[in-house]
């Protein structure tokens, strides 16, 4: 085990998991029957995936500046995804009612 340093192992594991969540989000996006269930799957899986990838990369970071930026990216992505999901859902509702 000493051939690969512990942080590298953890990075591989975390980014691998993150990858799986991204995959899950995409599968959800493609397979789920209607708009709202897709939105639900997408928002959840995607952000967890990104969080895991962020953690994985954070282990590789060398300076505090890089860690701070990784944290900022994740927080921004979380906030943005949440807000956007709400807006997109409401727009879909309005769209359906107008066309309904």
């Amino acid at each position: 085990m000493s051939a690969i340093a512990l942080p590298d192992v953890l990075t591989i594991v975390l980014t691998g998991l993150g990858l799986l969540f991204f995959l899950a989000g995409t599968v959800g996006l493609l397979r789920f029957p209607d708009t709202f269930s897709r939105l639900h799957a997408l928002t959840k899986a995607d952000n967890v995936g990104l969080g895991l990838v962020a953690l994985g990369v954070a282990l590789q970071a060398e300076t505090w500046g890089q860690l701070a930026r990784i944290a900022l990216v994740w927080v921004l992505a979380l906030v943005a995804a949440g807000l956007v999901a709400q807006l997109v859902a409401r727009a879909a509702l309005v769209d359906r009612r107008l066309r309904g």
């Binding site: 900022l72 921004l76 807000l83 807006l87 409401r90």
Partner: protein, 307 residues
């Protein structure tokens, strides 16, 4: 493994471009274009040109996307019909000819190696550490000065589209959002973060990727989010303060450039003064770029229908 990544990335770029241009439906084309902009930004990251990746991400994925979405909505409200792509052999041959010839010549002709060494040697005298900023704001400052004025010229062209009686109206559509709603919440939360990121990009531009254009674009973007939520009173084209903001950047650049005459040459930045001069220019330039880009996206003045 890099080849795998490159292949997938290039495939995505081509796919997005084809779908954006060939597919039916305007809205779909616009969404594909935004996705295309994101993949191109990643391609620039892959090439190691982070400055360009920042510009492409902020402009290609950000502002251009908003411009296109606004245009699609406006065309839909104007009832302009959509129609399928017209096939055409001659245009296809012409396009393939130009692209093929360009690619063939680009690969066949040995490159002359570019200006790596010259830029490297002159960097210590330029007053900044980031070579791209050195080229933009010192070696080829005349290009960047003209470019900041191109933005102003574009804004004047957009304002010229207003009808005579609309000139007194505020700029852009009558934007409004539900008080206390998600959009307004977003407009209160994102701008502070955006301002920090924008200012950081400008300030860091001297020593690492970033600069006036990338920072200015991010500031314009967050300013627009606040405007879209109706939190910002949109100015009229003849508002003095906004016009000063528009003119400040180019004016300072022109004056600093002219002052070079006294120091021995047009647009001359003497090595020991260069950093201070460049930073002053960048600060005002960022202000003007942010204001001009935001107003460009908002568009010509439009009368507010009385509620």
């Amino acid at each position: 493994m890099t080849v795998l990544f490159d292949l997938v990335l290039c495939a995505l770029m081509l796919l997005a471009a084809l779908a954006a241009i060939g597919g039916r439906g305007l809205f779909r084309a616009t969404v594909f274009f935004v996705a295309y902009g994101i993949t191109v930004a990643l391609a620039w990251v892959r090439l190691g040109a982070i400055d360009v990746a920042l510009a492409e991400a902020a402009i290609g994925a950000g502002l251009t996307g908003l411009l296109l979405l606004g245009a699609v909505a406006r065309l839909r409200r104007a009832g302009a019909p959509e129609f399928p792509v017209r096939a055409g052999l001659v245009p296809a041959l012409a396009a393939a000819g130009v692209a093929g010839a360009t690619g063939w010549v680009a690969l066949r002709v040995p490159g002359a190696g570019g200006l790596w060494t010259e830029a490297g040697e002159a960097l210590p005298l330029s007053g900044v550490e980031n070579p791209v900023t050195a080229v933009l704001l010192n070696f080829r400052a005349w290009d960047t000065l003209l470019e900041s004025i191109v933005l102003l010229a574009a804004l004047l062209a957009v304002w010229a589209l207003a009808r005579e009686e609309e000139w007194e109206a505020p700029v852009g559509p009558p934007l409004h959002a539900r008080p206390g709603g998600v959009l307004e919440g977003m407009a209160r939360l994102l701008p502070p973060v955006g301002i920090v990121v924008g200012v950081f990009l400008v300030w860091a531009g001297a020593s690492q990727p970033g600069g006036a254009f990338q920072g200015g674009t991010v500031l314009a973007a967050v300013g627009l989010i606040a405007a879209l939520a109706g939190l910002v009173a949109l100015p009229r084209p003849d508002s003095g303060s906004w016009r000063t903001a528009l003119a400040a950047g180019p004016a300072v650049f022109l004056l600093v450039g002219a002052s070079g005459l006294a120091l021995g040459g047009l647009l001359l930045f003497p090595p020991d003064w260069a950093k201070a001069m460049i930073l002053t220019v960048e600060v005002f330039l960022t202000l003007s770029i942010a204001a001009t880009l935001a107003l460009l996206v908002l568009g010509p003045p439009q009368p507010r229908r009385m509620p």
